[in-house]
């Protein structure tokens, strides 16, 4: 017989762990399926595991390191009785109650059954999908500026993207790199004003507008990238030893295909707070938020999902 839980939480970023703090304090003994280690944002702790300083999480006057903040979230939920399984969910069955959750072999009986399910699987960063990118991953192509910036001391690099994360990475990388070229497909940034001001003021950062990376070149490590100007069509190669990609995210929803409603852009659809189209399944954080996508809004929506789940269980009684 699979273990039965009142609450299972899928995901362990700010949304999932806040839901864990709240449901644990309500004595619901939540099980958090926290994910598996990786070097992408698809890992326990989520996207903040790949960030350096978090400056806008309220209460941390001097800022706090992303991984440290997530460790605190995790410890806080654990203190109230949350339990963790360091695996990814491989399948969910929402057509029956209690819901079935598989964390290993997706055949046979589920590994755990949940009376209420909180989905907080987050979003993962997109890659460019150009030739050479995959092959040179870890050899100059990086998904983690904070991990790998160190290796590009006094070397020229490119950062691809035009949002806040691209500028954060570019600014962080100026600590190491000799020059940072920001390659952006439009001629203006969509990043916040404060990040734009900081980037424009930084002498090490230059901008290549209306441009895209067409390929990554290099034998055993990155030696250059191919650029194309999307307005003039002009192509050129730029000598760099590193490329960091920050072009946006897509929600991790594959697990719920055909079971949970999605918006046209792929994010999970929620109704009245954190409810999904399945009674007893709640969604929070970046998997359902394509607008704000902040650690603090994710945490806030995790709290909403926990309260919604708690009320749902109360109404359910002993069923």
């Amino acid at each position: 017989m699979p273990e039965r839980r009142d609450v299972v939480i899928l995901g362990s970023g700010p949304a999932g762990l806040t839901a864990a703090v709240y449901t644990a304090r309500a004595n619901l003994r939540p099980l958090v399926v926290e994910g598996e280690p990786s070097s992408t944002s698809d890992q326990p702790g989520g996207q903040l595991m790949l960030t350096m300083e978090v400056e806008n999480y309220p209460g941390f006057v001097e800022g706090i390191l992303g991984p440290e903040l997530m460790q605190r979230f995790r410890d806080q939920a654990e203190r109230f009785g949350a339990e963790y399984v360091t695996r990814k969910a491989t399948r969910v069955d929402l057509s029956r109650r209690p819901f079935g959750v598989w964390t290993g072999d997706p055949e046979g009986d589920p590994d755990v059954e949940a009376r209420a399910l909180i989905v907080a699987t987050g979003a993962r960063s997109l890659m460019l999908g150009v030739p050479g990118e995959d092959r040179l991953l870890g050899h100059g192509v990086s998904t983690c500026a904070t991990c790998d910036g160190f290796f590009f001391r006094d070397q020229p690099i490119v950062v691809v993207g035009g949002g806040d994360s691209a500028l954060e990475e570019a600014l962080f990388l100026t600590r190491f790199a000799s020059e940072v070229t920001l390659v952006h497909r439009r001629k203006e940034l969509r990043a916040s004003k404060i990040m734009q001001d900081r980037a424009f003021a930084n002498e090490k950062i230059s901008f290549r507008w209306d441009s895209v990376v067409t390929e990554v070149l290099g034998d055993t490590k990155v030696s250059s990238v191919g650029l194309r100007n999307v307005v003039t069509g002009e192509e050129e190669a730029m000598d760099v030893t590193g490329m960091f990609v920050a072009i946006g995210h897509e929600p991790n929803t594959a697990l719920f295909a055909g079971q949970l409603d999605r918006l046209e852009n792929g994010y999970l659809r929620t109704y009245e707070g954190s409810r999904t189209n399945v009674h007893g399944v709640f969604a929070c954080g970046d998997v359902q938020d394509h607008v704000y996508r902040q650690a603090v809004t994710a945490a806030g929506s995790g709290c909403m999902a926990a309260i919604d789940a708690e009320r749902f269980l109360e109404a359910l009684g002993d069923e």
Binding site: E36, P37, S38, S39, T40, Q43, P44, G45, L48, M49, L50, T51, M52, L65, G66, P67, T86, R87, K88, L137, G138, H139, G140, S142, C144, T146, C147, D148, F150, F151, T220, K221, G242
Partner: protein
């Protein structure tokens, strides 16, 4: 940290890795790297379970640039498996335990 895991440095690396009769899996890591923290417990479990088959060692890249450069580590965590003092396999990026054990299995 598990007592089965050895801490290496530029000064001790060669001697340790060459002298070892079992393969040595070296974890190139640094304090500031989030994914490196996540694989630490994974490596500790492997050190316990595969004891006698593989030795686990850690090298802080921040403090040991010579070895880091010699093996052209450009991303962390990087795991390199040394057999008879020679690098045989390289794993770049964090992994879950099952996947890591599977990727190492043909060398152990």
């Amino acid at each position: 940290m598990s007592e089965r895991i050895t801490t290496l440095s530029d000064a001790t690396f060669d001697e340790h890795v060459k002298a070892s009769e079992t393969p040595v899996l070296v974890d190139f890591w640094a304090e500031w790297c989030g994914p490196c923290k996540l694989i630490s417990p994974v490596l500790e479990e492997i050190a316990e379970e595969q004891s006698g088959k593989v030795q686990i060692a850690k090298l802080n890249i921040d403090e040991n640039l010579d070895v880091t450069r010699r093996y052209e580590v450009m991303s962390i965590p990087t795991l390199i498996l040394f057999k008879d003092g020679e690098p045989r396999a390289r794993i770049v990026g964090a992994r879950g335990k099952a996947q890591l054990v599977q990727e190492l299995s043909e060398y152990l």
